[in-house]
Symmetry: C2
Subunit: 431 residues, 2 copies
């Protein structure tokens, strides 16, 4: 637990796009920010762009160019969060408090130069500290920074405002980083697919990392990584209703370690299959180095045993669907690594995540059994000590999520080892 | 004539809101910029916000607050020009040239801290020079800067992009500052009111100052002042068609000095009348100092002779209609300066401007005669050595403009002293 160095406790509050979409939502967010201030806290709020603003800006860019330059895309997109912050500052002023909005650059968010996917390398929060010392509420435009070498505006990729919030919480030694969204917290599964899904009271960084990586949209993966590395406590809360959400904390602090914590899924991936890859040292290395160089994240990878006299193997991997065109270009640019490339966008992925899995080796077997009973074909598998992911046909994802959630008894009636009464497992979304 | 210090000639090109309104206009502006580059010039382009963007942002602010904080208004409004620049840079890239967009702050436009009406106090154009040296086209977000003391985003007031362009032309010792709009140049009157109005080939800074101050919308007043003080040649041109527009140059360089150069008008003013002002030293001073302190520009002022034993006078003045509410607040905040305040928004102003007026004292008499013949009542008069302005009823403005334009023979058939052939006076708008 980090204690602020001086003055009242600092809290970082992050509001997502739907929480600042219209004037009413902005005023509502302003009231929550003011309420925290009036409880004596020093408040830094990080805002995303309003509702569909980012999509509209992207559309404007595509009206101009099929392949907009990344540097200019960042200049363009960074305006969305600035608008949200300026408007929210106006609302806070009308509530009788002093507020100032800062761009990512003004807030001291220093990044590398990888436009549209920049990484934070330093937070120089002097200007924020100065404003807090002057008893001001500080609003920071999320998702953006300034590159250290060329002083250009950069953006951190979709969902980057979470990372902005966590990075500021770390730099300011905030007691907590509150992430406000239109859901009440982190659930055992997507409640839109599984109505009996249960809100989790706590989840460990490790579990949250696996969940974010496997499709849970609540938190951006990198923000969780950053929070874990810097010991920042995250509290995922509802921007609409009061009451506690889900705390993301270190594993030692979690109260319970069930076998399986949640079922997650993703429909945002695509598979690339390379047939006839020469089974020589360095070939796979060349492929994945080139993909990494183009900032394409590769998720599940499978290489079959080479067969036949010429020792050719098949290599399959999944990437973010948005990166598929780039991945294809990269591989076509490599000479003679394979005979043929196929791509498949009709795939989905279902995962189960749980820190308790480490000590319970039977979990994988149960996953295969459950999916088998549902006659769902598993096309690729990837595991970590606390996660099992299965790539399956996209149209079978809802069935897979429901059956796994039921089989691992994650719903409200679940009796969990550390809490024999089951009292804490009642759904808290509606209450 | 200023000659650039080194390298090819620098040209500053400014495109207004209608010239970047849609994707087609942005691509068109990009083509003009690229054409200048391909003629071997080093190009700095200053862009305004797209079409109605600024109005939309203002509307968003008023959805949140009746009186939005000025600092946040600047943060909000400054995004419009950044969007234009990023999009135009994308278009230029697709045409095979390197371009980078810069915010006002990145471009080194340093201002005072008067939010929404900041004045440029320094231009630190190192970053622009560096980009030009790297053979890049530089796009600068107009209308904005960064305050020297608090490093906040500031804006220069409506039309401020003209001033950005002129200030950059001065700092970079550009050969010319080209202002592109949807009209072909500066006219002898507003062609929408007077179809036979003639495009001027040249106009002096002094005349242009008076014209901008009295309603000609082509150039922002302050940009003309800045150009005169720094010897920057302005060229007002059409963004739609090629061919020369109007050169704004120093009086010594103008080819002709007719009595009257143009008739201008304004419907954007309002009159404040204070009845029963105590005729004591310092009272008027208090009033106008307070108005200046609130950044309200006062235009025409009339004080009647005090009458009666108590020596009370009437004081009338005109202000920009947008400033009327502020002016009213300021005066209500002053104790006992007058017995009664009245305001009138149904006034208009018609002015005639001409450097030749200095040596022709009969011009004022002729103006009064012409308006008298039209039975237009003159409510207030203000003069300078090269301008006569009359405040009249708003609904008589079109008649006043037409009759003055005709009486002073400003149309295409005009035979002017320096050019007995009249050849240069054919309308050039359509050609």
């Amino acid at each position: 637990m980090i204690v602020p160095s001086q003055g009242p406790e600092i809290v970082v509050m992050k509001f997502g796009g739907t929480s600042v979409a219209g004037p009413d939502q902005i005023k509502h967010a302003a009231r929550r920010i003011v309420a925290a201030r009036e409880k004596g806290k020093r408040v830094v709020a990080v805002l995303s762009a309003r509702g569909k603003t980012t999509d509209e800006l992207v559309a404007q860019a595509h009206e101009i160019s099929d392949r907009p330059v990344a540097r200019e895309m960042d200049m363009l997109l960074s305006t969305g969060e600035r608008i949200s912050c300026a408007l929210c500052a106006m609302a806070i002023h009308d509530m009788g408090h002093e507020a100032i909005s800062l761009t990512g650059s003004q807030a001291g968010i220093v990044t590398d130069s990888v436009h549209t996917k920049a990484r934070i390398i330093d937070v120089r929060a002097d200007r924020i500290r100065q404003a807090l010392d002057q008893d001001r509420i500080v609003l920071v435009a999320g998702f953006q920074g300034v590159s250290t070498d060329s002083r250009d505006v950069t953006t951190l990729g979709r969902g980057g405002s979470d990372t902005t919030a966590v990075a500021l919480a770390a730099a300011l030694q905030a007691g907590v980083c509150e992430i406000y969204t239109d859901v009440a917290g982190v659930f055992t599964a997507d409640p839109r697919l599984v109505p009996e899904a249960r809100k989790l009271e706590t989840v460990s960084f490790e579990e949250m990392l696996e969940m974010s990586a496997s499709g849970a949209g609540v938190l951006q993966l990198r923000s969780v990584e950053y929070a874990r590395n810097h010991g920042v406590q995250i509290h995922c809360r509802s921007s609409i209703e009061d009451g506690p959400g889900t705390l993301v904390i270190s594993e030692e602090e979690t109260m319970e370690q069930p076998f399986v914590t949640a079922v997650t899924h993703s429909n945002a991936e695509a598979r690339v299959t390379l047939r006839g890859v020469r089974d020589e040292p360095g070939v796979a290395g060349r492929i994945f180095t080139a993909l990494a160089g183009a900032n394409v994240n590769v998720d599940v990878i499978i290489q079959n045993e080479p067969v036949g006299d010429d020792q050719l193997a098949d290599l399959s991997f999944t990437v973010d669907r948005a990166d598929l065109a780039t991945a294809r270009d990269v591989i076509e640019g490599l000479d003679g690594v394979s005979l043929e490339m196929r791509t498949d966008e009709a795939i989905g992925k279902v995962s189960i995540v749980g820190a308790g899995m480490r000590s319970h080796p039977g979990v994988a077997a149960k996953v295969f059994e459950v999916l088998g009973e549902e006659r769902i074909n598993i096309e690729m598998i990837s595991t970590s000590p606390i996660k099992i992911s299965c790539v399956i046909a996209a149209d079978r994802v809802p069935d897979a999520v429901k059956s796994l959630h039921r089989a691992f008894e994650l719903g409200p009636d679940a009796v969990r080892p550390e809490d024999p009464t089951g009292a804490e497992h009642r759904p808290t979304v509606a209450g």
